[in-house]
Symmetry: C3
Subunit: 326 residues, 3 copies
């Protein structure tokens, strides 16, 4: 930890280094951690995952988005939040999400910059609204900004989508042969769920993310893995589509719900554990529900299931939990 405090001192004394420090913390805050080393490991994970999927623009986009948002955050009066990277993480996700679904073009990079800047305004807006109930904005700014750009891509020829689901009316899922389900599948679904937080399916990226989490909080890493496990289990019991489970699609929101409810906004205890288990299971239902709800407009849920479930479980926190909220 001595290295960490020495780095903090160096970063504080130099404008450029401070900006880099805050940008790294911005990336780490995607999973609620305020630690530049965690952010660095997360960025490495994104690069590994993005190059592994032959879509490096996702990695560069996430850097550009974090930088744009961190830069825009300089205009906000509240410097403590800025220093903790709390204006950066939504820009990071906007920058990773847009190249995942849209063709790379000069206008796309402009959209990432604009998205990063606007994500700060949305963060301020939502934080201001939610502070009445003492709840954080979570990744709602990322989801709202990205949904806006993705939805508008249907109306603008210069934004061409190549990986959005085709708009379609929802239809009952056909009974799939459950033969496909096996231990290795299960393992894939759990691990991919962790890297899918950054919209990537990559085992190495997932391991790097877990290391990054553990650097700052071992509990966070434990809850991430257990959340993914429980989510994959729930989705399998309910009979969700096997490919989606394997890709981690039912786990990534649950990972965030588990970290948020289990370790970030509550201190681990038996009571908190039960509450988190219910929250994670409900997140899987919200994931399925949002898949249906968004089918006719052809956009992905992103991390909205996590946001909705966590808001739901965090607002009444003080009425059901003992007062050890951080």
């Amino acid at each position: 930890m001595e290295t960490a405090s020495r780095w903090s001192k160096v970063a504080d004394g130099n404008v450029v280094l401070e900006f880099i420090d805050v940008t790294l913390r911005g990336c780490a805050q995607v999973m609620f951690q305020n630690n530049p080393l965690t952010g660095l490991l997360f960025f490495i994970a994104i690069f590994v995952g993005a190059y592994g999927e032959n879509n490096p623009a996702v990695a560069y986009g996430s850097v550009l988005g974090t930088v744009a948002a961190t830069f825009a955050g300089l205009n906000v009066k509240d410097r403590t939040s800025w220093k903790a990277g709390l204006y950066g993480y939504n820009g990071c996700l906007v920058g990773a999400a847009l190249p995942t679904f849209l063709d790379v073009s000069p206008i796309l990079w402009l959209c990432i910059i604009m998205g990063g800047v606007v994500s700060v305004i949305v963060t301020l807006c939502i934080a201001d609204v939610l502070k009445t109930w003492k709840v954080a904005a979570l990744t709602a700014p990322f989801v709202l900004v990205t949904w806006t750009v993705l939805l508008s891509s249907y109306a603008f020829t210069e934004l061409h989508a190549n990986a959005l689901p085709t708009p379609d009316l929802p239809h009952e899922l056909l009974q799939a042969s459950s033969a496909a389900a096996s231990a290795s599948h299960f393992f894939a679904g759990v691990l991919n769920g962790i890297s899918e937080v950054f919209l990537l399916s990559s085992l190495i990226a997932s391991l790097l993310l877990l290391v990054g989490l553990a650097v700052e909080s071992l509990w966070a890493a434990v809850f991430a893995v257990c959340g993914a496990l429980l989510a994959v289990l729930t989705a399998s019991v309910l009979g969700a589509e096997q490919t989606s489970i394997d890709n981690g699609m039912y786990a990534f929101s649950a990972v965030l719900t588990a970290i948020a409810l289990g370790s970030t906004f509550n201190q681990p205890s038996w009571r908190v554990l039960i509450y988190t288990v219910i929250g994670v299971i409900f997140t899987v239902f919200v994931q399925g529900a949002l898949n249906t709800l968004l089918a006719p407009v052809g956009i992905p849920t992103l991390t909205m299931p996590f946001v909705l479930a966590s808001w739901l479980f965090l607002v009444p926190n003080k009425e059901v939990m003992p007062v050890h909220r951080q």
Copy 2:
């Protein structure tokens, strides 16, 4: 009333009887009444209606949902609300709604239990948010939890829907022969509207529900009938689909709006009466609008038209009504 107070004394002294008392009050709170006898009559109405429609799971589901929610409510600090049954009514409706639309299976019963538990968390969340404007959660927790499960049923093979509307783009209604409209039709639409609050079309159930209402508040029963009457009249003038009117589909939300605006949150007066009339008519428009809005995703409106219209008319209460709000 002597019997009532004697019962209260007995119930207070015994944990099991108290739990039964609160469970009954939970059922009665679906129509805003805090009275175990009303709850008992309501449960009888549900059993009569459910067996009449050959779907007894609706009745057992409503009991299970109320019990699960009342049990979960024991964890909340606010005991006064718990004793009044305010944590139970949404679970009751979740338990009645899920077997109405989904196949009966072990997983369905687990969903009802989970839905009952989560409905308490949603109730706390919404109540906490709305207390800033001094408005109640109404049946919003029921609607949100049930929508989540019904929407997710399209994604999960183990939740099989048998009575959900097929997802479809909305299309202009063709001019129906209005020859079908007659006094007996009108009568059916009004009465079914009352039992449809519990998702049942049953004349006997409706009469039992009215008796249950009258036991606690005669005004509530009067407003229920008049609300249903006005709603059926409005829907007929606007040219809504005759079958839907006959089934009470345009009346059940209006019944609740009428009780809420007319007797629960205001004391009857001329001014309140006019306000309630506008509220009931607007509820019919919201019902039509939500039918269109939800068509592409294949889920029913449930009591959302009531919730939206009543929130709309209750928030500005103090600015347009004299100060006799209860």
Copy 3:
């Protein structure tokens, strides 16, 4: 200005003249101005535009809606807001919008009266909710009431739509030949954008509206024109459909965003100018996004893009702007 103050004195002394004065101010408040002469010029513009499109019902509807809302507003305790026309402008827009999309019939006129009355209740409700964050209701009451009636028109045969978009799944826009874009097209898109605030495509109406704005605030007129210009430019660069751009469909919400952010709720400065530019550009994205989102249910966006973008940019105002908010 002497004439103005003399008029104010005359209007104050006579109930009928006062009502006319407030009705005119109600129309002017559609573009945030508190001035009866502005309102008179706006009404003239609406009549010119409506007769020019052979749909005079739009003009008479706007008068009826404003009168109904102003009349309903008499029941609210807050007389200062009433006198400023703040209960009238949403009724004005409801009255202009319904005959734009629905067949003229006795029931339509009743809907306009009801819509005007309910718009006041929605205004009170939203104002009450938003005052926690010191943000105005803007035209949200108009949009919500009109959406409700338009959506319900699919369910009611007596409300027949003749100009609503056919419900359809969104599909990628095909690359249009950009040969159509030219200076005169550009000019049309900008000017039509101003009259489209009242749902009309008319150059003369646009000029009258600009004169009306300038009468009360030159800055408002300047921001209206510049907002429309920037929006048309942005939409062209993004490759929006040329016909929609020419009709002013991408500019009318941006016009209102520009007036709101640039002159009504902030005093012009460099910082405010940059903020307004970002807000206007983002409004164009929200317009494209809402076009996609509403495609399956067949209703127009109305001024919702303006409402959403402006709320988003106005809530964090105090955290990013110096304290010269009006």
